[in-house]
């Protein structure tokens, strides 16, 4: 046992190396166990050892990963449910706002607000508006029925009839509806209690900024001057670019700074992925497996959630559901 008896230069170097490896651990675990673990590691070191062995390094990094994963997945079921609940309002709200940016003069590049165009947009965006209103009103069953009706009515767009024509936009739409439905089933009535006016304000600002950025990017990416080899912001009005940058920075900072909002970011990752795909698709075509894989992951998550909920309900037969 090497202990802590007067470390040599080699011992100090080894201890520093172990210390660097311990930075992989969560701060709370490190604060409680780092000194103790260093003692164990130094006690197990061979005479004259100057660097951590490969097995020890792998064990420390693997152990840190297991502890981080456990911290993220256990004891935080409430945080995940809250994130899902928030996503159940934020996503349909963002979807409707994105739709609105299509008909706001000066934002959408190619829109002519003729009656026939308004009818076309109405057919496309009225259903999510109905979903949003029913979700905000707390009419859970009506909202679920609206989602089901939207999916059925839009079957053609959603690819069941025209599978080869299935596009990232359809996938994003399906993911938004799917997550909203999951939220209504798994976390009914929570979102309205969790969301404050500042959250709605942030969601509105982020969605409008995304809509503006989307249309501007579509315009730039499809212009004859655009080259994928030199995808700079040329042609983007500086004031608009600065404004979008500020909104994006504030949104990212607010989303990553708390455990609950980081989970929200993970919950909305699938529709966000497809939304980014929508923007870049005119230039970078998305291979079809990349369209289906995240949807398959979302479907698997829904099945797991359903199974977990069923098992929970079986263990607590007296607990009633909420309407």
């Amino acid at each position: 046992m090497n202990g802590g008896e007067g470390l040599t230069d080699g011992g100090e170097s080894l201890e520093r190396s172990y210390g660097r490896l311990l930075r992989w651990y969560p701060a709370g675990h490190r604060a409680r166990h780092a000194d103790e673990m260093l003692g164990v590691l130094m006690a197990g070191a061979g005479p004259g050892q100057r660097r951590p062995g490969l097995a020890d390094s792998a064990s420390l990094i693997g152990g840190a990963a297991r502890i981080r994963i456990r911290a993220a997945t256990t004891g935080s079921a409430g945080l995940w449910r809250d994130a899902l609940a928030r996503a159940g309002i934020v996503l349909p709200l963002a979807w409707v706002l994105l739709a609105l940016t299509l008909v706001v003069p000066g934002i959408a590049p190619t829109v002519s607000l003729s009656p026939s165009m308004l009818v076309m947009y109405g057919q496309e965006y009225l259903p999510p508006l109905v979903v949003l209103v029913t979700v905000l009103a707390g009419w859970r069953r009506v909202a679920l029925a609206a989602i089901a009706a939207t999916v059925v009515l839009d079957t053609g767009n959603l690819g069941l009839r025209f599978l080869p024509a299935f596009q990232p936009w359809d996938a994003a739409y399906l993911a938004v509806l799917g997550i909203t439905a999951l939220a209504l089933v798994a976390a009914p009535g929570r979102a309205r209690a969790l969301l404050r006016w500042k959250h709605y304000l942030l969601a509105v600002a982020a969605a409008v900024a995304a809509g503006v950025a989307e249309h501007r990017l579509q315009l730039l990416l499809t212009s004859p001057q655009y080259s994928p080899r030199h995808p700079g912001p040329a042609g983007w009005p500086p004031a608009e670019l600065a404004g979008l940058g500020i909104v994006a920075a504030i949104t990212v900072i607010l989303l990553v700074r708390s455990a609950a909002s980081r989970r929200l970011l993970i919950v909305v990752a699938v529709p966000l992925y497809f939304y980014v795909a929508v923007i870049v698709t005119p230039v970078y075509r998305l291979p079809s497996p990349l369209i289906y894989l995240p949807l398959a992951a979302l479907a698997a998550a829904a099945v797991l959630l359903a199974v977990r909920r069923a098992r929970t309900d079986r263990r607590r037969p007296a607990a009633g559901g909420s309407a």
């Binding site: 202990g3 802590g4 103790e36 164990v40 792998a58 420390l60 502890i67 456990r70 004891g75």
Partner: protein, 114 residues
């Protein structure tokens, strides 16, 4: 509720603590002894297991000492940990007894199995 079988490192850590509280390095050397050198726990594996076992209330911190200027924390089994280890030992013993019987071996013929 039905519990799954313990993984071998977990079983060995609980076994090491069954005789009394031990610190991290003591658990590592004891596990190596119990398994006749077959299982050599590394610090990362040990502390990930201790973190999980503490979370499951099978193990808890017992006391702390400062040795050569360094913190040494001792861990011990909780009553729930003792029960879990006893249940696992009984399950393994029953399986081993059936295996021995089906092989037509006398009790104690395989590595001291009862």
């Amino acid at each position: 509720m039905k519990q799954g079988a313990l993984q071998e490192p977990t079983l060995l850590i609980l076994t090491a603590l069954a005789a009394g509280a031990q610190h991290g390095y003591g658990i590592m050397t004891d596990v190596a002894d119990i398994s006749a050198g077959r299982v050599r726990l590394r610090a990362g594996t040990l502390y990930a297991a201790l973190d999980r076992l503490t979370g499951e209330n099978l193990v808890q911190a017992d006391r702390e000492e400062i040795v050569d200027g360094r913190l040494r924390r001792y861990y011990r089994l909780t009553p729930a940990g003792g029960q879990r280890l006893a249940a696992e030992a009984g399950r393994l013993q029953a399986s081993a007894a059936i295996a021995a019987r089906r092989l037509g071996l006398r009790p104690g013929a395989i590595g001291g199995l009862a």
